[in-house]
Symmetry: C2
Subunit: 215 residues, 2 copies
């Protein structure tokens, strides 16, 4: 498996056994996520902004209004950290100290540049398909005016790591004798039935990309 | 309603009508969240780390091993940005350009300091109760050794904002004539039935804090 280089920056320090540095583990989390938390720093002030994204090979695409702070700052080639997290459960141990969560998180580091006009359309397709698979071909694609108002950042992923916890609580040996319930409450993200826009013209059926959510 | 001061740092620039600066809106999102994405910058390199947290009044508590990077760095009083996000739905518009998400996000800015030994226990109670309400009194509380191994950061919330999108797609006027389905696929986070630790001693019932999740 292809691995990220491991340096101080991307090393999982707390509970190192939960750290993974192979691209497959990191990209699986990125690809399954819906929004990313994008971190950057302006004059020492950190910002963490949730946003849509898409991944292709070793690149992440971010899009936004050309005037947005995130776009304006990152297009200068400033370092960026992009994090995608799933919480899979609350882990209730016998001791407060060993309370935890089951989770999967991917943290990647890189630098961004603006996509060229030639690259933009492909990148927007990747982002749109990440938001909702199959939608690019169903919806009206961007026109010249919209393309002009949209900037796309291409982030070259330089390093990354995944951190994953699964399983039940792990208590100190002597605490297993305590009369305290322990276990996991699993958490999950679910989709509900699609809600059709009340302004939709009559006679337009749900498209193939949406139908599975109606079942 | 008490408002945060509004400066360049916490102003919602894109779609300003989605921005909220009253503490109630921001704290409702913080209190409903499970994990926060904590952003900080070391020598210009941003990091975004998902972690548990708790809020009380105008403070956020973060805890971790005394050796963790987040704890080590933020205890110096470095600026921090803490973001909590809910995704409530995928918004499928007629045009790719107007695709969006329904979401609620809170972004707060502040600086941290280490909790004193006197403050630590209360802060850990707030974090534990945030992870799972009612758990502090059910579980074995931290002993001296565990308290020593745990650091707690107290972040004074200096500024914050919430950004909230609700409702259906909003397309350009002429696009409403297109034969393209539009609507929202709602998303939700759900808890599944609790899974008892297979190592639990016999005869220990589910406690009051967990029972509602079993129904």
């Amino acid at each position: 498996m292809e691995q990220f280089s491991k340096t101080e920056r991307n090393t999982v320090k707390r509970v190192p056994k939960r750290g993974h540095y192979d691209k497959k583990s990191v990209y699986e989390i990125l690809d399954a996520g819906f929004i990313a938390h994008v971190g950057f720093s302006i004059d020492g002030q950190p910002f963490v902004i949730p946003t849509a994204y898409g991944r292709k090979d070793d690149q992440i695409y971010l899009h936004g209004a050309t005037t947005s702070r995130l776009i304006q700052h990152l297009q200068t080639g400033a370092p960026v950290c992009i994090t995608v997290t799933f919480v899979d459960g609350v882990v209730l141990a016998r001791s407060v100290f060993h309370h935890s969560a089951n989770y999967r998180s991917a943290v990647v580091f890189g630098t961004a540049r603006l996509a060229t006009d030639e690259e933009k359309m492909d990148a927007l397709e990747v982002v749109t398909e990440h938001i909702h698979k199959g939608r690019w071909e169903e919806a009206r694609q961007p026109n010249a005016k919209e393309l002009k108002a949209t900037s796309v950042l291409i982030v070259d992923i330089e390093q990354g790591s995944a951190k994953i916890r699964t399983g039940g609580p792990s208590d100190d040996k002597e605490d297993y004798e305590l009369p305290i319930w322990a276990g996991v409450i699993p958490m999950d993200t679910v989709f509900r039935k699609p809600v059709t826009d009340p302004l939709l013209k009559e006679g337009i059926p749900m498209p193939p990309s949406v139908l599975p959510f109606a079942e």
